[in-house]
Symmetry: C2
Subunit: 145 residues, 2 copies
């Protein structure tokens, strides 16, 4: 049985994050020691490693919740898991496309800026005027992703 701290270091997940996952029901409630400290089994370790890996691959906690409930049910068809992974792939591909457009604009901006005063600064100028952009870069909702 592992304490929460050991579980954290062995999975690379911070302690408050583990407690948070328990709170939102992604991890089951842990057993407790006599002194009320959480104790984790090998199974919990596996489950947390699964969650972390999925987070690293960009899956949302909601998607992970679904994936976990699928993995708890080994006789189910795997089409649903497949669909979640495909959706995530599509999401990543679209982010890639948007980021590539951003990169183009930012490079142009930085390269062209030769002035030494703000008044001739290409960066400031381009930001003030979208028509100076070559690509139809993403709208606000997508840019931060």
């Amino acid at each position: 049985m592992l304490t929460i701290g050991k579980l954290g270091t062995s999975t690379g997940v911070k302690v408050p994050t583990i407690r948070y996952y328990e709170q939102i029901g992604l991890l089951p409630e842990a057993e407790r020691s006599v002194g009320n400290q959480r104790l984790y089994t090998h199974k919990a370790h596996e489950r947390l490693a699964f969650i972390r890996h999925a987070r690293e691959l960009g899956f949302s906690l909601e998607a992970i919740r679904d994936l976990l409930s699928l993995s708890d049910d080994p006789d189910q068809p795997c089409a649903a898991a497949d669909a979640i992974a495909k959706a995530q792939l599509a999401e990543v591909e679209s982010r890639l496309a948007r980021l590539t457009a951003l990169k183009t604009e930012l490079e142009r901006m930085v390269v062209q800026c030769a002035g030494d005063r703000i008044s001739d600064c290409r960066v400031i100028e381009v930001l003030g005027d979208h028509s100076l952009c070559v690509t139809n870069h993403p709208t606000i909702d997508d840019a931060g992703q």
Copy 2:
């Protein structure tokens, strides 16, 4: 003078967002009509367009705050603006690299999954075991970005 609604439609920024920008001091407090409604000048329109464009290019509100105060000061050297843009470019490039690694893993996962039961599902299997990955894909902090 524009009402907040007109300003919103003409810049593509939602009304509550404009109020939010005012609240956090990114836009100056607007003049008010007799009936206490916000009224915007052409200058405010330009400033908001600048903000929106910078957001589209992925700059954080903090970075935008700095860029705006630079652009308010046309005699300053533009090195600072340049540095912010370069940092943003670097950020975008690193996100691109990380997302490309994710894409590789997700594609492998999806392509290899030929089983029809969860018990042979490649997606679930890979998520449970990072060593099945070919790349050293991002850590958790980066994946969602």
